[in-house]
Symmetry: C2
Subunit: 233 residues, 2 copies
DNA sequence: GTGACATATAAGTCTGACTTTTTGGTTCGG
DNA sequence: CCGAACCAAAAAGTCAGACTTATATGTCAC
């Protein structure tokens, strides 16, 4: 997704970040900078930069005379796309996928409602195109092509909401949808009802019907929750 | 809020971060590391660490032979608590407050619904205490005391939802509520109707009534939206 | 104009010496 | 026996300087 290994410290992070988020160094563990530098065969300056980044993500805390201690999971910056990617790649994957899906279920309906009010003509057109693309690839095991349009659809909705916080969740949704297609459920063609809902959301947004857009999107996210057995009924 | 000036690079960040988020260095501007190091009177290594942190927040991008370029706002990690604090402290404050309030309006009702299902007895007790504290300080210009309980109330809701992503929004909500009391509206005692709603939410959570908790919380957040003139009617 | 090549530039890396803070133990006095 | 003051070691923090590497840009031949 993001450029891997942008410099030496980047490669260290690609290795150390996942290790920490995976719990390989449990919270409370103490690391020493120059020991790490030796282990990773980099200079102290490079390792220090890596530690600084981990610190800015609240994954670790660096204190004099004690070392670099791993923070408890509850303090991590779980909205950092990098952290999300690391967790999705590791043992935390199921929990991460669940919590992100719940977040989606809260945000996307509201975003769709706002999109109905604020979407530009261009965004409406894009949305319709995406919906058409989804329909066109909804049968015959064309999951990859379907996914591309599905992802684009939700990104447009979030962007069209006009809310910068919502817009920035585009990457998150992308990861969740991609994860669902590639690793979890979805061996067969997507649920036809879900496809229809997307088409109808595009309609509602185009017509400026905020309430309908919100309600329909809520149905979509409820479906996503069901897929992960998060909802009871 | 967070420890200020944890080391030299921290002080550099406290100065450079707000400057960037405030648009003092507009997107596309190019900075040079050793020039910055000279300006801030720190060594290159310290400045490099600061730049690395800014880079991890997607505020800047560092490339060989060109320098450190400021990224467009749309790419910033706007969920980073540090970035949020910087923006709330600067010219972006109004927009930031609005977008965060919209985010709250999406998340908190869902969180309250989940809290009704998953809150522990202890959390229910805490919630009730908070509500009582709000009532007790709802009249007579005791805004500070009221705020403390209000903040605590919403933090408990988010934590009790059992969703880690929601829980981590506690800090954000704290900033928003504090900002509202200290800088924006709210010169007089809080709206009695809002106070009642909080009491009722505590009730609903205690009784495990998810739908009612969600609906009532939605009314609270709608009120918050109105205060910032985000909703039309 | 186009492509190959040279050059300057700014980030990236490494090393070693030095400073500062903090912790944990030790000693001394009550 | 306990507490306060003190001391020493440990680890992060800071700095300066030399060197490497990627790359944008300009130059020249064709």
């Amino acid at each position: 997704m993001t450029t891997p290994g942008r410099g030496l410290h980047g490669r260290v992070l690609d290795s150390l970040g996942p290790a920490i988020t995976a719990g390989e160094y449990p919270p409370g563990s103490v690391l020493r900078t120059d020991e790490l530098a030796k282990d990773f065969e980099v200079s102290r300056s490079v390792m220090r930069e890596a530690v600084r980044v981990l610190e800015s993500m609240h994954l670790v805390e660096s204190r004099r005379r004690v070392g670099v201690t791993v923070r408890p999971k509850a303090e991590w910056n779980v909205y950092d796309p990098q952290v999300i990617r690391w967790r999705l790649a590791g043992a935390d994957r199921p929990q991460q996928l669940r919590s992100l899906t719940v977040l989606r279920s809260a945000v996307e309906p509201i975003a769709a409602g706002l999109a109905a009010k604020f979407a530009t003509a261009e965004q409406c057109a894009e949305l319709t195109e995406c919906a058409i693309g989804m329909v066109a690839n909804s049968r015959g095991h064309k999951l990859e092509a379907y996914l591309v349009h599905d992802v684009a659809f939700h990104r447009v909705i979030l962007a069209a909401s006009g809310n910068e916080m919502f817009a920035r969740l585009g990457d998150v949704v992308t990861e969740v949808l991609a994860g669902r297609t590639h690793h979890e459920v979805m061996f067969e063609d997507p649920d036809p009802a879900a496809v229809t809902l997307h088409v109808q959301v595009a309609e509602a947004v185009r017509e400026g019907d905020a309430v309908r857009a919100e309600t329909l999107t809520r149905e979509i996210t409820i479906g996503a929750l069901h897929e992960l057995d998060i909802l009871a009924p």
